[in-house]
């Protein structure tokens, strides 16, 4: 069985101990996804699995055979940035850049969750059909992605600028 990675079929690992993160970085050479804590606390390894944001460090690659993974390399390239990557540049959404691929993959998944009405801890009314992309909602929904440089304000600005129209 293989895994569809950024649109290309990749043979899954033989050893079931290989995490999805190590599979992407070491087997596929896709080093955009980062190993921060390797224990599910920082969000630097966030990728999209069938469109849902997940932590690739806590995922066994074998569990994702037959599924579709999108990494930062599948969202944009140096010559053709994803709109959110461009917004990160414009809003100083990073300093060292280590958490950035995870932040961007996470935000793309987050925007889809908000669009389909997934509630968050700060959503006031659970029975509403549409939830606005407010600063508070974005801050709460992105709390699984830490930025040691403290660029969170720029990150939230970039996300709001890129996705605000999604819910309006």
């Amino acid at each position: 069985m293989s895994i569809l990675v950024n649109g290309a079929l990749a043979e899954g690992p033989e050893d079931p101990r290989v995490s999805l993160l190590d599979f992407l970085r070491e087997h596929q050479g896709l080093t955009g996804s980062k190993k921060g804590c390797n224990q599910g606390a920082c969000g630097a390894c966030t990728v999209l699995a069938n469109g849902e944001r997940i932590l690739s460090c806590l995922a066994l690659a074998v569990q994702y055979e037959g599924q579709e993974i999108i990494t930062i390399e599948g969202l944009g390239t140096a010559d053709n940035l994803h709109p959110l990557q461009q917004a990160f540049v414009e809003h100083d959404g990073f300093q060292c850049g280590y958490c950035t691929p995870g932040q961007i993959c996470s935000a793309v998944g987050m925007a889809a969750e908000l669009q389909r009405g997934v509630p968050s801890h700060v959503t006031q009314a659970l029975d509403t059909s549409s939830i606005g992309m407010t600063r508070d909602e974005v801050r709460e929904r992105m709390s699984g992605n830490l930025c040691r440089c403290g660029a969170h304000n720029g990150i939230v600005d970039a996300i709001l600028e890129t996705f605000a129209e999604v819910t309006e």
């Binding site: 101990r17 966030t46 806590l58 996470s106 987050m110 969750e113 801890h121 659970l126 699984g144």
Partner: protein
């Protein structure tokens, strides 16, 4: 991580056929894979059960049946759950991060280990949960996050789930299949207090597989919510939490269900408080008395005495919130 064999089960029957010594069922992996990497969990075989039932189905009796492999996010966002069991949606979105909620299954959330930082500290400390009989270095150590109710001289860890606190308050039932057939376990009986065997978190027998969670119907006049108090605004375990279902009629408590998180080795059903409240006036004074009674048997450790007053205030605040704007 030691080597293991991996199977993906297409059906519950297939999963059960593979069950045996050293075998663990694998959901989202957010706790189990982490503990395997730390060499704390050392299964010889993993049976991936994420391909089993993910349905969330309304029942003819007004309840709901949630497939064991349903992801936490899928439950929290489900329209009928949000409308009929708002405390469950609230509890789920108060837990972990969105990425982890997208991975974690309902059964996996229930079966995550009751734990503390000493449990993880394999090379530095003793832990009866890791190695029975080795001792507990948490006792007399840093105890800010530890239990105030139901702890033992062998273990003072707390169950970290938010979702489970809501399920405890809802009187959920857990559907289980095992080598000896099927059974249905009341949610209050799934998890254990530590006693002399803190290595056992649950009352499940070897090979038993959770297949579904059943939510009984809630009175249409009842209100419910979940409140979590933690050291930072998001992505932190509860210091304390309260799940409550309150049904008030003519100013009196017709029914109340209260469960507490962050205070014990399992989600703590506040039965003493409930007994005092049933039939009593739905007033702040009554809430304060009930909360005080529930915590009258609490045993603070060195650093967690603050939890006693904190959880009492949180109980009162939650019940007061649920009585706001009642005629």
């Amino acid at each position: 991580m030691i080597p293991f064999t991996y199977y993906r089960a297409a059906t519950a029957d297939e999963a059960l056929r593979q069950a045996g010594t050293g075998v663990r069922y694998l959901g989202g992996g957010t706790n189990l894979v982490d503990l395997m990497r730390e060499d704390i969990e050392r299964p010889s075989t993993l049976i991936d059960v994420t391909g089993l039932d993910t349905g969330i189905v309304e029942q003819s009796d007004g309840g709901m049946l949630i497939g064991a492999a349903a992801r936490n996010t899928a439950v929290a966002e489900h329209r009928a759950i949000r409308e009929q069991y708002p405390l469950l949606s609230r509890a789920i979105v108060a837990g972990a991060s969105a990425q982890i909620r997208n991975m974690a299954t309902v059964a996996g959330n229930i079966l995550q280990r009751t734990r503390c930082l000493y449990f993880y500290d394999q090379n530095g400390t003793q832990c009866n949960k890791r190695i029975p009989g080795s001792g507990c270095d948490a006792i007399g150590g840093f105890t800010r996050n530890h239990a105030i109710l139901g702890a033992s001289d062998h273990c003072i860890a707390t169950h970290p789930s938010d979702m489970c606190v809501a399920l405890a308050a809802l009187d959920a039932a857990v559907h289980v299949r095992g080598p000896n057939g099927e059974r249905k376990i009341a949610f209050a009986d799934i998890h254990r207090l530590p006693g002399e065997r803190p290595d056992l978190d649950t009352n499940l027998q070897q090979g038993e597989l959770i297949t579904a969670i059943e939510l009984p119907a809630v009175s249409p006049t009842a209100r419910s919510t979940y409140r979590k108090v933690r050291d930072r605004a998001s992505y932190a375990f509860a210091l304390v939490s309260v799940a409550a279902v309150l049904d008030v009629e003519h100013g009196h408590v017709r029914d109340v269900r209260l469960a507490l998180g962050g205070v014990a080795h399992k989600p703590w059903r506040a039965a003493r408080a409930e007994a005092l409240l049933r039939g009593s006036p739905a007033t702040v004074d009554a809430f304060i008395k009930a909360a005080s009674e529930e915590l009258s048997h609490a045993r603070p450790l060195g650093d967690n005495g603050f939890k006693i007053a904190l959880v009492q205030r949180t109980i009162v605040a939650v019940l007061t919130q649920l009585t706001e704007d009642l005629a």
